[in-house]
């Protein structure tokens, strides 16, 4: 499969559907706008144009490079949270150094994604980050996002040092209760309530965030008109750029090298989390929309875009679950929807920049809280808790986000998922019914002790004259397993059967029909 050929596969919509595609594009542009600003300012600690350019150029690049009809890139809450967490210890937020390090971080992540694209098995590894690991991390990040937005919600200055631990978040919560700016809290509460209430109506669901922001902004404008900004002390978003692109250069100065080295784990996390979300979202959309697009197209589009975006001041891009569900719900027929959403957003930012600039920061924080709460999906969690090993992997991954940070969570969760898979393989279902020893699972060096213990008990049992070892349901035997089987076969008391080839029936009838043999051989050939 060639990822480059996908770039030119365009399913142009019928003329009648063109209007629908443009409508979807406009909807997406309006939906992504508040998210872009909130993610970049409140989570990543970067000026709002980073989110906007990501929602414009990131979406455009991925739409052009990825043949999937239902795909929407752009800024992502998880990735923005990773940016904030990685860079907080390195430099003060919103400062020039911080921006330089952020661009370096994005470029490193893009390059790592390119490596993952180039080395095929690495891309395949993404499939091994299992659902409970990813969900545990996403829930952990959701909780983190809620706590993280407390100071901004109450109009308090954000402390300059990293505030990641849950037990520190508790202190910010108390600070909100005790010394929060009440005007800010009012704005935040209004935004929160409007968003949460409108979400309950199916027709308004996708507009909830926008309506919340509008309500919060209107109230903030009312306050400023009545009391004045100097009295209310409400921070506003501002700083929406007006140009089409804002060229930038990642920071690679020699004196910055120690810090750059220290953010490499963050870059790996960023790259993996981005690609993982893209791959998972594409898999889900394949299942729903009926169009099969190989996940490598997504990796290709993301990696390439993320190598370009650091040079035009944009957050890294990856697939967005919520916007893609919206696209699917509105029956997107071609990539034109995503492309037009980018262009619509560019127009919006160019013409309505000053309206965007008055959005109050507490309203943004409230939106982040809603987004964070949405990332904690109870139905998913309940599903994981039906199965003990999955519950353990999920909880470990969730807790390690708060105990060891995001990179630690990736490592810890993946190791646990692998350990779980190995554990399952090493415990084949071995049962002894009368004189039949049934093995279902794998016979390999890890599972042999389990099998051998029961085999030993059965073979030394005086009541059993002939022991039948049935390995029909064994799907993998490694060389050590073969050696063990050979050993077992030498024991006169034991008969090996494998019902898949009809061996036991042949042994009973005592003769082998020639046609059956031929059919066997044919089957082997086709396999």
């Amino acid at each position: 499969m060639n990822v480059k050929s996908g770039v030119f596969e365009w399913a142009l919509p019928r003329v009648g559907a063109l209007g629908n595609e443009l409508l979807i594009g406009l909807t997406l542009a309006i939906v992504v706008l508040p998210q872009a600003i909130a993610f970049s300012t409140t989570l990543a600690g970067l000026p709002s144009y980073f989110g906007l350019y990501s929602a414009i150029w990131g979406v455009l690049f991925t739409a052009l490079l990825n043949p999937s009809r239902v795909f929407h890139g752009g800024p992502n809450s998880t990735l923005s949270a990773v940016v904030g967490v990685t860079l907080l210890p390195v430099a003060p937020q919103f400062g020039p150094d911080y921006i330089g390090y952020a661009l370096t971080l994005f470029l490193l992540a893009g390059l790592i994604q390119l490596v993952i694209l180039a080395v095929r098995p690495l891309g395949r590894m993404l499939d091994f980050v299992s659902e409970p690991v990813a969900n545990g991390m996403i829930c952990g990040i959701g909780l983190y996002m809620i706590f993280k937005s407390f100071p901004a919600f109450a109009g308090l200055p954000i402390n300059t040092q990293v505030e990641w631990r849950l037990w520190i978040a508790w202190q910010s919560f108390l600070a909100v209760l005790e010394i929060g700016n009440l005007h800010a809290i009012h704005i935040g509460l209004i935004t929160l309530l409007v968003t949460v209430v409108t979400r309950q109506f199916a027709a308004l669901r996708n507009w909830a965030i926008l309506l919340g922001i509008v309500a919060g902004t209107l109230y903030s404008e009312y306050l400023s008109a009545r009391l004045g900004l100097g009295e209310t002390l409400i921070e506003q978003t501002a700083n929406v750029s007006t140009g089409f692109v804002y060229p930038s250069l990642p920071l690679f100065a020699q004196e910055a090298m120690p810090d750059i080295i220290s953010i490499i784990p963050g870059a790996v996390t960023l790259a993996l989390l981005g690609l993982f979300q893209t791959v998972a979202a594409m898999r889900r959309m394949n299942r729903r929309s009926g169009q099969f697009v190989d996940a490598r197209h997504g990796i290709f589009a993301d990696a390439l875009s993320n190598c370009v975006l650091p040079f035009i001041s944009a957050l890294p891009t990856c697939a967005s679950f919520n916007r893609m569900s919206l696209m699917h719900a509105m029956n997107t027929g071609s990539r034109l929807a995503a492309v037009s959403s980018a262009l619509f957003l560019l127009a919006l930012v160019s013409f309505f920049g000053e309206f965007i600039a008055i959005i109050p920061v507490p309203a943004m924080a409230a939106i982040i809280m809603v987004v964070g709460a949405n990332m904690i999906d109870w139905s998913d969690i309940r599903a994981h808790f039906q199965h003990r090993p999955e519950a353990i992997v999920f909880s470990a991954s969730f807790l390690s986000v708060h105990l060891f940070g995001l990179f630690g969570a990736v490592i810890c969760g993946s190791l646990l998922a692998l350990a779980y898979a190995k554990w399952e393989k090493a415990h084949p279902n071995v049962s002894l019914e009368h004189n039949v020893l049934r093995i279902r699972g794998n016979i390999y060096y890890g599972s042999l002790p389990v099998i051998e213990s029961l085999y030993h008990r059965a073979s030394t049992d005086a009541r059993i004259d002939e022991l039948v070892v049935d390995f029909s349901a064994v799907h993998h035997i490694d060389p050590e397993g073969i050696r063990w089987l050979a050993e077992v076969g030498r024991n006169g008391k034991v008969r090996l059967i494998d019902r898949r080839s009809g061996q036991d029936r042949r042994a009973v009838s005592g003769e082998s029909p020639p046609d059956r043999k031929r059919r066997d051989r044919r089957r082997r050939r086709t396999l």
Partner: protein, 365 residues
Amino acid sequence: MKPLAPAWRKAVRLALLVGVLLALYALALAKHDERERIREQPVTLTPGCSDKLARYGLAAGATYVSPYALARTGQAIVRQGYSEEDVRAIQRGCNIIDDLQGQLAADPARERWNATRFVRGTHTSCDHCHQGIGDKQTAAGVPQTGSLSLAGSWVMADMYDQFTGILLPYELRQMQCYINSSNGFKPNIADDLIRDVTAYGRFLAAALDLRFGNRYPEQGIDEITASQTDKRGDDYVRGGALFREKCARCHGPQGLGTVVDGKVLFPAVAGPNAFNLQSRNNFSFVSTILPGFICRNMPLGEEGSLSNQDCRDIAFYVSNLPRPAGDKQGPLAALWQQLMMRVMPPLIRTIESWQRPGEAVGNGA
């Protein structure tokens, strides 16, 4: 898109969420009210503060003339006065510096703005480093050898963070204090805790007539680098011997501090109540600050009697005693340090008692 839940369940959930939010809002209003009331309340001064503020003539009025400057220069320097509100803030600030833990207060949490939340252990107080309630002077008003004067810090306009290079305003420096010396989380920069101490530091500068732009010996700290010593390396064994000779009589043989009747007379320099591993006081984190502090301020009453080499040796020894882990070192390091502080000493004592039965072992932990 996820299917929406049935209407009644949705309504219940929504009502629950709105209820929780409104309850939190009501709680916030109550807490804000309480803070407002505390700000309005008259302040009960600690004995030390009562003396000091009386000596500096703090009172509400249109103008303020520092008696200290008047006595020293014979010249009455008239400054803008303080309102009742300012006076209360300064008084609370002085209380915080003198007694951060609220051991002298009737209601510690309320009178000290919950300051204990932001420090670890039960010993830490500002006064331990910023001695003499912020300006190291005798009761007669004679300045003593020492560093880290709060008044000197207020008039130090250009202090940069050594690591990040940011210009640190007075409020941020206070937050650095919480990070450096006691650690954990720090108060929000908008907290009354920070504001009151700022008011006090500013008042001290006015009272002592310190001026912006001037340099004063009590400003900041003299950091002692390895090149300022005899250049024979930091000697743990010598540091231990010096510690037992010079420091142990106040800080205790294991550096666990001296507490009498629940009042901290001398703070711990090791163990659960001491500064932590990631504090800049810790030698292995920043090797110049603790020696500098020791040389200028220790032992109490004999300041300046230790050589640079002595100070570095003692600091090296002290920093290697067990202490809590820093907040950013993660749960494993924290667990390890707790093990070192709480499990190891009794274990060692037990083993020693086996080896030397009959002998009195353990030296006053």
